[in-house]
Each structure stands twice: as C-alpha cells, then as structure tokens.
Amino acid sequence: MGVGIQVEKLNAWFGKTQALRDINITMAANHATAVIGPSGCGKSTFVRCLNRMHETVPDAHATGRVRIGELDVYNGTSAVAIRRRIGMVFQKPNPFPTMSIYDNVAAGLKLNGFHDRRRLDEIVERSLQLSALWDEVKDTLRKKSGASLSGGQQQRLCIARALAVQPEVLLMDEPCSALDPISTGKIEELIFQLKERFTIVIVTHNMQQASRVAEFTGFFLLGELIEFDKTEKIFTTPSDKRTEDYITGRFG
C-alpha cells in the first residue's frame, strides 16, 4: 500500500545557485502525481530531493521537511536508509550492464545483504510480473545480461528492480522520454496498474502523458511551484496565467 507525501518549505541549492524555493505540496497516497514545467524549472531536482538523491551531486544541499508516510526524510535516518524505502526510475534506462536479468532485479536486495535464495526467486518473479516483463524474460533470466534487452524492456527491468525492494513510493524521472510510442504506452499502462499498490510521482515534459496517467499535476517554473491541482482542472481551466501559457504552448 502506498503512503502520502508531504513537503514543507523545501529549498534546494547547487552550490550558491538556488534551484527550488519554498516548495509546499501534499501528494495523495495510491495516486499518481505528475510534475511538469519547462527545462530548468526544477522538476527533476524536486523529485530527487524526495529521496535525497540530490545530495549525491557535489556541493548540493537541501533544507525543509519531507515526510513520506510516517518517515521523516531529512531528520533522523540516513540518506541510504531512506533510499531503500523509495524506488527510483531514471530517464535513461540504466540496468547494471555486467549483471544478468535476475541479478539486476535482485540487486537492491543482494547488495543490501539479503541472500535468502528461495525468497529472492519469489521476489524476482513477482517484481518482473508487476512490471509486465516476466513472460518475455522468464527463460533467459540468468543467461542474458540486463543490457541486452530492448530500450522498453530495459526500462521495465529498471522498474522491476525498483519494485523488488518493496518501496511505498515510486519516483519516476521522465521514464519514457527515451522510448518509442509502443514502449511508452506499455509503461503508462503499467503506471496505471501500479497506482493500486504504490504512490507514484512522475516527472514529465510530455503534457499529454501527464494528462493520461496522473490524477494530480504540479506545474513548476523557475524553481517555484506555481500551481497544483487535479490534472483535468490544470489542463482545462488552470488558475494561473503562467500555467495556461505553458500548457497552451505560448512559451517553454
């Protein structure tokens, strides 16, 4: 079951440059929230602050409060522990190239010390089924490397890998931007099904995709959250002129 996400006064910097200003947002459990905005608006930075991946960039830091369920992301637990509870899928599919499909899916567990063979088999199978990849790879699980799959399959593999650690929240940073329309469609379908078990935050520059998969949408511009509302409201009658200018293509 997914959990809700609450963000209060989140600010983020790259060195001296401020990338996010006073972001306040509440994202509903078991729903998909889309984050849209022009290039450089801070949407990727925002999502990376939710699981403290932002800190992996040298000289980057963030302040504010992020609560995911009952977990306080910035106070109390280490970044590494936080990231084990939150799954992330990146823009370019990035399976571990030297590992087999099986090992890729199990990586999150094995690298964190979990080695029960039988349970691992179960978890790998279930994760691959959740990401609609099981039927395509069940015969070559250990023989083929993760990098030998097609782009769309690789991205589903990365989703399976993220799901294997059983997070409650799944963060997706433009997951379909490197994929063809058919693969994109499969993954959007997947997101729709995953919503039942997880809370999903998806960054996308494709507004049609946001309107297809997400119930809520947040519009970011120059590091600020301009408007956050139900997706259909944002795309039919947005409240802020800047939102409207963006989605009608008048800028950005």
Binding site: N51, R84, M88, F96, P97, T98, A107, L111, S145, R161
Partner: protein
C-alpha cells in the same frame, strides 16, 4: 581544378579528381604507417624464432644451467624464478594500484588527487634502474639480495600504470549506473566495489596486463635486487634466477653455447608473456554474460 567525375546533387560542387586523389594518397599513407609499425614487430619475433627455436628442447625447459663452457643445460630455474618474482610484484602492485585508481576516480577530484596523479606520472617516468637502486636501498641493504626485493622493485613499477588505467576505466562507467545503485539505497563504498568496479572490470584487467607485460621483461632493477642464481630457489629472501637476468648474462658472455641459449631464452620470455596475457583475457571473457560489454 578539373571538374569531372561524380555529381553530388544540386548545390554541392561535384567531387573532383583532385579530391579523390588526395583521399587515395591519405589512405596509402595510413596503410604505410601501419606496415611500418608491424614490420619491426614481425621482424623481431621472426628473428627470435629463427635464432631460438632450434635451441628449445625439453631439456632446455627443465634443466638448470650447466657451468661455463659446458654444453646443455637449460633455464628452468630462471623461468620459475621469474614467475615467483612477478607473482610477488603483482601481489604488491595490483592491489595498491587498483586501490589508488579507485580513490582517484571516486574521491580524487581535488588538489590532493591532482598531486597523486602527478606523482604517479613522475614515477612512471623514473628509469627502471633507479627504481632498482631504491629497492636495493630499502630491502637489500643489510639483508642481502632476494626475490622479494625484485618483487618490490617490479611492483613499484607496476603501480602507476595500473593506477591511471583503473582511474580512467572507472571514470568511463556512466554516472547513471552509479545513480541506479544509489537510488536502490546502496552505500557509496559498496556501489564503488560491487557496481562501478565490476562494470569496469575488463578495462581494469587490461591495465593490469599492460603493467605486467611491461615489468615482465625488465632487467636493470633485478640486477640490484635478485642478482640471479645458478640453482633452483623458491625462498623469497634468497637471490633468485630470472629469465631477463639470465638472458642478459648469457648474451654478454663469451661462450657460443650461452649465446645460443640466450636466443632461446628471449623467445621463451616473449611466448610466456603473450601466453599469460591471453590466458587472463580468455578467463575474463568466459566470466561475462551474453550481451554484456
């Protein structure tokens, strides 16, 4: 400029004879360069085979040298000694080199890292005989010549190559692969060892093999450290025979018999190095999966 030959569409001028001629000339020049490089390589190997193959026999490979002036005998102890010394060198040089390479790639984007890189490059350029003298001062003085000293000298020489290659190969691993691991909640050091290093394995091995091949044939440092030995020796704190040393002393001797054996020794040395590198390559490729790079 004669405007003949192929037309390339409406706006571009046709490809003239002059351009095609230039193209052909450059291709010829490049091919010639390749031949020029391969010829000495082939010549050396060919000449070695020519001069040495006659002297290679089972006896040569299994017997220790006979006294000066006598015929027969072999370089078995030298082959064994070289293996021992190179093993010691590898045990010392490879972990240090890879460790330094990891540090530079992951944590070394600062002044201190630059200093280490500079030091490694300088060390790379230090003449091998100087390294030998340093090893003599550290290990031999007061304790005597030994295989260990030889291993230390050669190990020191391996470090810079391995360090730089390891660093380069690790930096080639795309950031996204590392981020995938971080995203899964894997700690930084674990990511470095299990993911980044593993992805760069084939490149790192190349670096190690490069270093190995280079030091395998070094003679000067061994002069001050292992000294050589007429007999079998497997103790690391005693003087030991080495192929390169043996070749050196035989070739500079006055005996024809020893000259003959020197050729054979040189051929054996080359063959052993090639065999070692190939064996590691094959073993490494067996371990990788279908489709992995």
């Amino acid at each position: 400029m004669p405007e003949t030959a192929i037309s390339t569409g409406s706006t571009l001028p046709p490809v003239s004879l002059w351009r095609r001629g230039k193209n052909a000339a450059m291709t010829l020049a490049a091919a010639s360069a390749v031949i020029l490089v391969l010829v000495p390589l082939g010549a050396i190997f060919g000449y070695l085979v020519y001069k040495g193959i006659g002297s290679i026999s089972w006896a040569f490979l299994t017997q220790i040298p006979k006294g000066p002036g006598e015929t027969g005998g072999g370089m078995a102890n030298a082959i064994g000694g070289s293996c021992l010394i190179l093993a010691i060198a590898s045990v010392m040089g490879v972990p240090i080199g890879i460790g330094a390479g990891i540090y530079l790639a992951e944590y070394g984007r600062n002044r201190f890292g630059d200093l280490i890189r500079f030091t490694a490059d300088v060390l790379n350029g230090v003449p091998s005989i100087v390294v030998g003298i340093v090893a003599w001062a550290i290990v031999v003085q007061g304790r005597g010549f030994s295989a260990l000293a030889g291993g230390v000298a050669l190990g020191i020489m391996m470090v810079p190559t391995i360090t730089r290659t390891t660093e380069e190969m690790l930096l080639l691993v795309p950031l996204v692969v590392r981020e995938a691991a971080y995203g899964l909640g894997v700690s930084r050091w674990r990511t470095t060892l299990s993911i980044t290093l593993r992805t760069a394995t084939s490149g790192v091995i190349t670096g190690v093999m490069l270093a190995f091949a280079r030091v395998a044939g070094e003679t000067a440092p061994l002069l001050f450290t292992t000294l050589g030995n007429q007999y079998w020796n497997w103790k690391v704190n005693q003087p030991t025979a080495a192929l390169s040393l043996q070749i050196f002393s035989y070739a500079t001797s006055a005996y024809d018999e020893w000259h003959r054996q020197a050729w054979a020794g040189a051929l054996i040395l080359i063959v052993l190095i090639v065999a070692a590198v190939s064996a590691v390559r094959i073993a490494a490729s067996r371990g990788t999966l279908k489709g992995a790079n």
